[in-house]
């Protein structure tokens, strides 16, 4: 009898614990749905399928960049050059497209340039023990300079078929969304199901312990930067393709949009914590806030204030739910 009661109690506690765990784990998802409901109540156009598709499409590039930042932030690093490297990779890809007419050559160029810049970031950091903050800031300047020299400051137009990478559709779904989903799934697989992914979390959680356990940390860091650079290069091509031209100045501030998405999505600056689905949700939350403010024609100055407060609020709620007593 008493044994049964205890068992029931146990079961009850288990149920409760499970619910709390769910809440802790998916707090950001609850915020996500709360924003959807509030937005739908505020404006009837918000839930239009085309509008929802617009939000995802507009934020596909930021989501890809945010995947790159998630890997870096989880491993205790950051990339402040992402915006300018994105512009460099995208513009060079457009240049190759205009000169060769080959979409695959353009894609390859963009991704390779991104990867090279990423690897160089990693090299500076591991070889000369530079802080990621400083090394990537230096890279940002160099990438911006090369972009300006290459383009002379004006846009590269006439990219023909390359535009389908950013504007094409597969059935009813825009191609950038499919590319974004592929990158999110790829990042999830790498982070959760490979030894390399385990090292990413280990380095961010406790770098010294990771070194002590025999992991080649420097090589792993270079690989992390290489991988994130490849994502940045791809994002650059997708963005310029969407814009139907190589825009030299369009990368400004994109790295901060991506970092915001990752942090809103629950990635911790302390390293070792974060997952890529949270990042995707974070990117979409920021995107939805932008969208509803535009639909309601809130003036730009107030948009900045509201956006700042909502982002801070979302992160505070997320942290509080995570640290709630279990």
């Amino acid at each position: 009898m008493s044994a049964t009661v205890t068992a029931e109690k146990e079961a009850g506690r288990d149920r409760r614990t499970d619910w709390k765990l769910l809440y802790r784990k998916y707090g950001i998802v609850l915020i996500f749905f709360a924003i959807i409901i509030i937005s739908a109540l505020l404006n009837s156009n918000f839930l239009e399928p085309q509008n929802l598709m617009n939000i995802v499409r507009q934020n596909a590039v930021i989501a890809i960049l945010a995947c790159a930042q998630t890997i870096l932030i989880v491993s205790g690093m950051i990339d402040l050059s992402a915006g300018f490297v994105l512009a460099l990779a995208g513009c060079l890809a457009c240049g190759v497209m205009v000169n060769t007419g080959s979409v695959s050559a353009a894609l390859f160029t963009g991704i390779a340039v991104g990867g090279l810049c990423g690897w160089l970031n990693g090299f500076l950091i591991t070889r000369f023990s530079l802080q990621p903050f400083i090394a990537t800031l230096a890279m940002a300047n160099v990438a911006n300079g090369i972009t300006q020299v290459y383009t002379g400051g004006s846009a590269i137009s006439g990219i023909k078929e390359l535009k389908y990478v950013g504007q094409g559709m597969v059935g009813p779904i825009p191609l950038p969304i499919i590319i974004m989903l592929f990158i999110v799934l790829l990042t999830w697989f790498i982070m959760k199901h490979t030894k390399f992914g385990l090292y990413i979390y280990a380095i961010g959680g406790n770098e010294k312990a990771t070194i002590a356990s025999g992991v080649h940390v420097n090589r792993t860091k270079r690989l992390i930067f290489l991988l994130s650079g490849l994502f940045v290069g791809l994002a650059g091509v997708v963005l310029m393709a969407r814009l139907n031209s190589g825009q030299p100045s369009v990368g400004v501030g994109k790295e901060f949009d991506a970092i915001t998405a990752a942090v809103v999505g629950g990635t911790s600056f302390n390293g070792g914590i974060g997952n890529v689905f949270g990042t995707l949700v974070g990117a979409l939350i920021v995107g939805m806030i932008n969208n509803i403010l535009n639909l309601m024609n809130v003036s730009t100055q107030y948009q900045l204030i509201i956006k700042g407060l909502l982002i801070a609020g979302a992160v505070i709620i997320d942290i509080r739910t995570k640290s709630a007593k279990s």
């Binding site: 509008n51 090279l116 160089l120 400004v252 003036s299 730009t300």
Partner: protein, 327 residues
Amino acid sequence: MKKRFLSILAFVLVLSALTACSGNNDKAGSEASGANGASPAAADKKPFTIAFDNANDVYAYCVKVREYLKQAAEAEGMKVLVANGAGDVKTQNDQIDNFIVQKADLIASISIDLDGSVPAVENAKAANIPYLSLLTHVNTDGYIYVGSENKQAGEVQGEYLAKVLPQNAKVLYMTGQTNDQQYVDRKAGLTEKLLKARPDVKLLAEQSSDNQKDKGMSLTEDWMQQYPQFDAIISQNDDAALGAVEALKAANRLKGVVVVGIDGSDEALKSIEAGELTMTVFQDAKSQAQAVVDVAKKLRDGEDPKSITDILIPFKAVTKENVSEVK
């Protein structure tokens, strides 16, 4: 070892890219002085040197002005010295001090900073060399201004739209960053010539696109959701206007929507030729450069620099009809 080699290689590449850039500048300078020596037109006139300091060689527009200036000056047998301030007001001021030492007859500079460029003007004044500020103002007096006024760019947009928009037209306005003087001036011009002159025109919404193409595109996508019908998208620059064009094209809604920008960028002119962008406001680099040379001619003929008034070069509307004239 291999990795070290790779990294050195990479740095050499980056360095060569950078030095290639500055190498060009040196070449440009020596070309200019060489051309002067060979110019036959200069024979009967006093030698005259214009020292030109660019704000930053990375801006396509500034480079265009510099090249037009060299052409126009050399046609008059004048010598042109060039320097690149590279966006740094201190660098530019030092370069202008060098021009003073070289005893230039006129210093023409795209002054980088409203306040930071004051010493350059003062130093030139102290050395009795006329200072001409091109495109930008400086927070002092005693210089000659040549440029175009942002308010007028907004007015040209407004006048054009007031003419072409139908009765009770609905318009959308995408602006630059709202903390920028350019935003205030261009908006004032548009308000005066469109919204005040045509009270029937309704402004549905005003939002910032930061003058960026991607934000202009996203904003237009959002607007198309909210406003089933509108007649015009007015942008404070060409990049964002072209973003609007991309979004409208993708949604098959470009037809019947007037899209206007400001700048006259190459991409915008191409788009106007293709019948997509309706109109842009062209800033006339050639006339601006010619105005500098006109000032130089007056000085060479012995006119008192104090009597030379500022020269405003008007913006002009460019549509499909006259796009071939400005290309």
